[in-house]
């Protein structure tokens, strides 16, 4: 009679059925309560609120957002702000992280110990504290706009942010863009040919130098040939703040620096572990081929280290993107601060708002994972 309880198949089905039943009951309970509560609070569910007037200010360098804009505009402002701080943060963190990871392995005792101290201190203090330190401890303590730090009469640093000259493009500016794209295309074919020659004859061409000259040189030459079609608008002090030029708000820079600095310490550790994981025999084999130190790094160490570096690097990038939601702590208008913060509080549409931001973060996570998986496939060992 009780034999059925010892039947493997029956137990499997029974336990799965219990789980599903449990989930259904919990969801039913939650949704039922939500319907009652929403009814009591007088909130109609649905996404219609997105097209009502937002009535708050959110700064965006990309498009004009006034207090008359809609909640859906606020969502896109938040999304763009999240994206911009994440992409820039990933860029800076990667560069800083690689530099520190390599310096950590320096032969110079003093350099490696100092970098060790810096990395450990950055890594072991929560990222939220770093963001707050950058904002309240660094940027808000800078001099006021009137006493701004003046670099060459064009860059101004004050507690209102960083102000740069901004370019104004006139007629001929398109030629520079064409030159830039042309340089990239020419460079692509040059690199392809240089690789072919390298494989055929073993002769190496100065790829890096030529690429640099092409991609930077050609647009610069065009700039002067076409009679300097770009003008620079220099920020000017008017009243209590600067007008004109490009501005980076202190909230943005503080968040960016906090995220980049914290993540770069983690990346430094990953890079160090990756480089150390290259077997000694590989380096000795390289030495016996009598190649230079730079060639060794480029052709032996880094390609093998990258295989170990890329997967944990991906999760650091994901962490940085997710940590960018800490923007609320310094009042930077990212996704969590607009849709998940002010819009939610104003409209009371908590379920919709939280679903929207969670869905967006999930999509961004998937996007970063997809890109990094593609990169990972490129660097992995190709076996026959």
């Amino acid at each position: 009679m009780f034999d059925i309880f010892y039947n493997k198949k029956f137990r499997s089905i029974a336990s799965q059925f219990t789980l599903i039943l449990f989930l259904v009951v919990v969801f039913y309970y939650f949704i039922n309560n939500a319907i009652i509560n929403l009814d009591r609070l007088g909130i109609t569910s649905g996404f219609d609120f997105l097209f009502s007037r937002a009535g708050y200010d959110a700064y965006s360098p990309f498009f004009k957002f006034t207090s008359d804009s809609l909640h859906i505009d606020a969502y896109f402002v938040g999304l763009l702000n999240t994206l911009s701080v994440s992409i820039l943060g990933i860029f800076i963190a990667t560069i800083l992280g690689f530099i520190m990871g390599v310096l950590r392995l320096s032969n110079n005792w003093l350099v490696s110990k100092l970098v060790y101290l810096v990395v450990e201190f950055k890594r072991n203090v929560p990222v939220l504290i770093w963001i707050i330190i950058w904002y309240f401890g660094v940027f808000l303590q800078l001099p006021s706009a009137k006493k701004a730090i003046n670099i060459n009469d064009s860059i101004f640093i004050s507690n209102r942010g960083l102000y740069f000259p901004s370019p104004v493009f006139s007629e001929g500016a398109i030629a520079i863009l064409i030159a830039f794209i042309g340089a990239i295309i020419i460079n692509f074919f040059y690199v392809k040919r240089a690789k072919k020659i390298h494989i055929k004859t073993g002769k190496q061409s100065p790829i890096f130098l030529v690429s640099l000259l092409l991609i930077i040189g050609l647009p610069v030459v065009t700039y002067f040939v076409t009679n300097q079609p770009i003008e620079w608008v220099i920020p000017e002090l008017k009243g209590f703040n600067f007008k004109g030029g490009m501005a980076l708000k202190p909230e943005f820079v503080a968040l960016l620096m906090g995220l980049a600095v914290y993540t770069s310490a983690h990346i430094a550790e990953i890079v160090r572990a990756g480089i150390l994981s290259v077997p000694k025999g590989q380096i000795e084999a390289g030495m016996s081929f009598n190649i230079t130190r730079n060639q060794m790094m480029k052709m032996v160490v880094i390609p093998q280290a990258l295989r170990l570096i890329i997967p944990p690097l991906t999760s650091q990038y994901l962490n940085l993107m997710k940590n960018s939601s800490l923007a609320v702590a310094v009042g930077y208008m990212d996704l969590t601060a607009t849709t998940g913060g002010i819009t939610l509080n104003q409209t009371g549409q908590a379920i919709e708002c939280i679903l929207m931001i969670m869905g967006t973060y999930l999509l961004l996570s998937l996007l970063i994972s997809a890109i990094m998986n593609y990169v990972n496939k490129k660097v992995q060992l190709v076996e026959r």
Binding site: S15, I36, V127, I132, L366
Partner: protein
């Protein structure tokens, strides 16, 4: 010439020239091996010599340690009064001062509970471990009260006490849930596998703040209006859920590295699923994933700072409250430096311990 003083093969071992050995050689190899190394070293030493005394002077020598107001800080260095004047608040938040013995006892017992986990060579380890497992309940009783103790509202808890409560509760509860999720993700039952996978990936794909918002804004909507769950409990729940998803992935890595033969052998022995997991597979898998587990503990501990965003006063929250006080305004450097150092000490010790374990484990596998 004394070249011929010794016969072949009888030359005594002479000490190396002074510049070729000992401290001189170490300095030259490590600091001045090439010309650019020398330049970097000299610049760094110059920078250290010029800035380190300044920093030390600001931190200690010309700092004011015990003052009641910012205006009393006159020596020009750091004004540590912002920390010392309300030090109990940094430790306990607004916990009633006459009941300080309870968190004190709880932290003392924490050390007792940690001892058998950190040191495997302790005697009567079995009984100590039993205590460690029941510790969260004891700590909960001591801190919240009830059952004969004066109850304390959770809003009164703050400072380091709150940070540690969140951290320890999160760590103690996320490990078992993480193990269950990891086993679920590798289960042969499709419904359980699907549920675990979706749960883990959903949690790992979103920032913790959105989950905290969920706990503070959404959860009251999903419960009947007369059911009110204490905010601290809700936040601990979210921290546990968040950490257990990451924990599950670490443990899954450990489970995957166990060779198939181990699973098959335990099947041959006629062990049931739970027997084979608890006696054969998990002891090995957990041992392999210990460094990863400790690393997720560290990130959990750092993530507890996020609770200030939902209005709780952990160490960082107390610091910010002190800064908004008119008597202490403008002392951001001191307060944040102090908090950063406290977190650094805890996390650095944990990461050192993880490194130590990693070395010990790698030795035992060789």
């Amino acid at each position: 010439m004394n070249k011929l003083q010794y016969k072949i093969g009888e030359h005594p071992n002479l000490p190396a020239p002074k510049t070729q050995g000992g401290i001189f050689k170490a300095i030259r190899n490590n600091l001045f091996s090439t010309w650019y190394d020398s330049i970097i070293t000299i610049i760094l030493i110059y920078l250290l010599l010029s800035y380190l005394p300044m920093a030390l002077d600001w931190l200690f020598f010309s700092a004011d340690f015990f003052v009641d107001k910012r205006s009393q800080c006159t020596s020009g260095g750091a004004c540590w009064g912002v920390i010392t004047a309300r030090f109990p608040q940094y430790l306990y938040g607004f916990y009633p001062p006459e009941l300080y013995w309870r968190p004190n006892l709880a932290s003392l017992l924490l050390l007792v509970a940690l001892a058998p986990i950190l040191y495997s060579k302790i005697s009567y380890r079995k009984y100590f471990l039993m205590f460690s497992i029941t510790y969260p309940l004891i700590a909960f009783w001591l801190l919240w009260g009830g059952f004969g103790l004066v109850p304390v509202e959770s809003e009164k808890m703050g400072g380091l006490l709150l940070t540690l409560t969140l951290g320890v509760m999160g760590i103690a509860l996320s490990l078992p849930i993480g193990i269950l999720l990891a086993l679920g993700r590798r289960s042969k039952m499709p419904a359980i596998r699907l549920f675990s996978t979706i749960f883990i990936e959903l949690i790992r794909g979103v920032p913790m703040i959105t989950l905290l918002f969920m706990a503070t804004v959404l959860l009251p909507l999903f419960l009947p209006s007369d059911v009110i769950i204490d905010q601290l409990i809700r936040v601990i729940f979210i921290i546990v859920i968040f950490a257990s998803a990451y924990m599950a992935e670490v443990i899954r890595g450990g489970l995957q590295s166990i060779r198939k033969g181990q699973y098959e052998a335990s099947d041959v022995m006629g062990l049931s699923y739970w027997q084979s997991m608890s006696l054969i597979i998990l002891p090995q898998a957990l041992k392999i994933s210990i460094p990863g587990i400790v690393n997720s503990f560290i990130s959990l501990f750092k993530d507890t700072t996020l609770v200030i965003i939902v209005g709780m006063f952990d160490l960082l929250g107390v610091g910010r409250a002190a800064l908004s006080n008119r008597e202490w305004i403008g002392l951001a450097n001191e307060v944040y430096m102090f908090i950063a150092i406290v977190f650094f000490v805890f996390c650095y010790l944990m990461s050192r311990y993880s490194l130590h374990l990693e070395r010990r484990l790698s030795r035992s596998y060789k």
